[in-house]
Amino acid sequence: MVIFPYNSMYSSIQETEIACYYLKMNGQRVHYSKFMYWKKDFLEQSITKYAGYVIQNKNNYLNYYINEKVKNKNQHIIIQNALTPGKVDFKGWAKWFATFAGIKVNTHDNFELVKYNVQIKNSKLSILDSTILCSTKTKNDD
């Protein structure tokens, strides 16, 4: 609920590795930490949430919630259409993201959505591994 402050700060985080998501445009990471707070937060959170949606085969939490709670087929379609974004194609999303981050996008630009597993130790960050979640080079985006 918007009036009730519950977030992940209350439950213990056991992972020693941290996941960070970046969009790569023509092989270059689209950076966002240089922006003022709200824009930086918008870029960081939206890519994290979009990556989660891609990992879940283009479903977000509300898709599962509606599937569980709404059994009537017609109601299900109406509610699902309104409250979830549907199947958002990667190229369209990537173009929006890059443009929002202030980068000029051309038709033939290539995009990749990359997950980085990082570790911060002794003031130094090390990227343990990275995974391409989505790419416009390969046809894995439906």
Binding site: M1, V2, T16, Y37, W38, K39, K49, Y61, W96, Y116
Partner: protein, 271 residues
């Protein structure tokens, strides 16, 4: 004329609050997250929250984001009604501003994909919507109790959560919060503090407990109004520290917390 206008703020609680909301709204716009700036974002993510369901169920945010003309009109309308309320106070303008800001918050956080609970700039307008002094007073008192509940329940969650005695808990959160800065090599004083905290888990745990104590101070407000300024100062201090250490901006909550400094004036029915 300008001096006369500025001096009118000194005894006008409503004007002081609206001015702060105007500043917060302006910062949203300058940051580049106004409706127009968001552009035609294709993905949104809302949680299990009926307030969001009403707006998204009626396709309001989706329509605003889709059409630039509507987005720009609403950016100007929101700012315009706030400015109108500032120069010529009218409950009607406040009601419009409240609805527009609520719609903005729901749209912004829906497309951002994460609710950060910095809703103060919306709720703070509620008491100003009422015409009669008595209703205004009741609304201010209710809002004050809600703020106290908001922060004290947040402290309670932290106490009852499983992270309170976990030495890795806060240092993991600190590492997560600043990881983009390290990846992008955007280093400075805050990353220096951050790396110190990541490597000094006992200090981070003390900070976590300190935050719980500061948030818990809101409980005092349920029993007396005499310590309101102290509670307000504590909570503002909490948000400023969150900004520096956690990279969570206080913008959105400042105008709301300011009301803790206004109650002596509110009680004199200056508004």
């Amino acid at each position: 004329m300008m001096i006369k206008f500025l001096s009118s703020f000194q005894n006008d609680v409503a004007k002081q609050i609206i001015l702060l909301v105007c500043v917060e709204f302006l910062i949203f716009q300058i940051s580049g997250v106004g409706y127009t700036s968001i552009g035609s974002a294709p993905y949104f993510n809302i949680g299990v929250d009926p307030l969001y369901w009403i707006f998204y169920g009626l396709y309001i945010p989706q329509t605003i984001i889709k059409y630039t003309i509507i987005a720009t009109t609403l950016d100007f309308a929101t700012g315009g009604f706030l400015l109108l309320s500032l120069f010529k106070f009218n409950e009607k303008f406040i009601r419009y501003s409240f609805f527009l800001l609520l719609m903005y918050y729901v749209t912004l956080t829906g497309y951002l994909g994460h609710r950060n609970y910095q809703t103060g700039f919306v709720w703070v307008l509620i008491p100003l919507m009422f015409k009669s002094e008595k209703n205004k007073m009741i609304a201010f008192e209710s809002l004050r109790y809600w703020i106290l509940f908001f922060y004290s329940s947040s402290a309670a969650f932290k106490i009852w959560g499983d992270g309170i005695f976990d030495v890795n808990h806060m240092s993991s959160i600190f590492a997560q919060q600043f990881s983009p800065y390290y990846i992008e090599q955007n280093l400075g004083i805050r990353t220096l503090i951050n790396s110190y905290l990541i490597n000094n888990k006992f200090v981070t745990q003390l900070l976590f407990w300190g935050a719980i104590i500061v948030e818990s101070s809101a409980i005092i407000g349920f029993f007396t109004q005499k310590k309101d300024k102290l509670i307000g100062a504590f909570l503002i201090f909490f948000h400023l520290f969150n900004w520096i250490l956690m990279d969570i901006s206080p913008l959105g909550q400042m105008s709301l917390l300011y009301i803790f400094f206004l109650f002596p004036f509110i009680k004199k029915s200056i508004i």
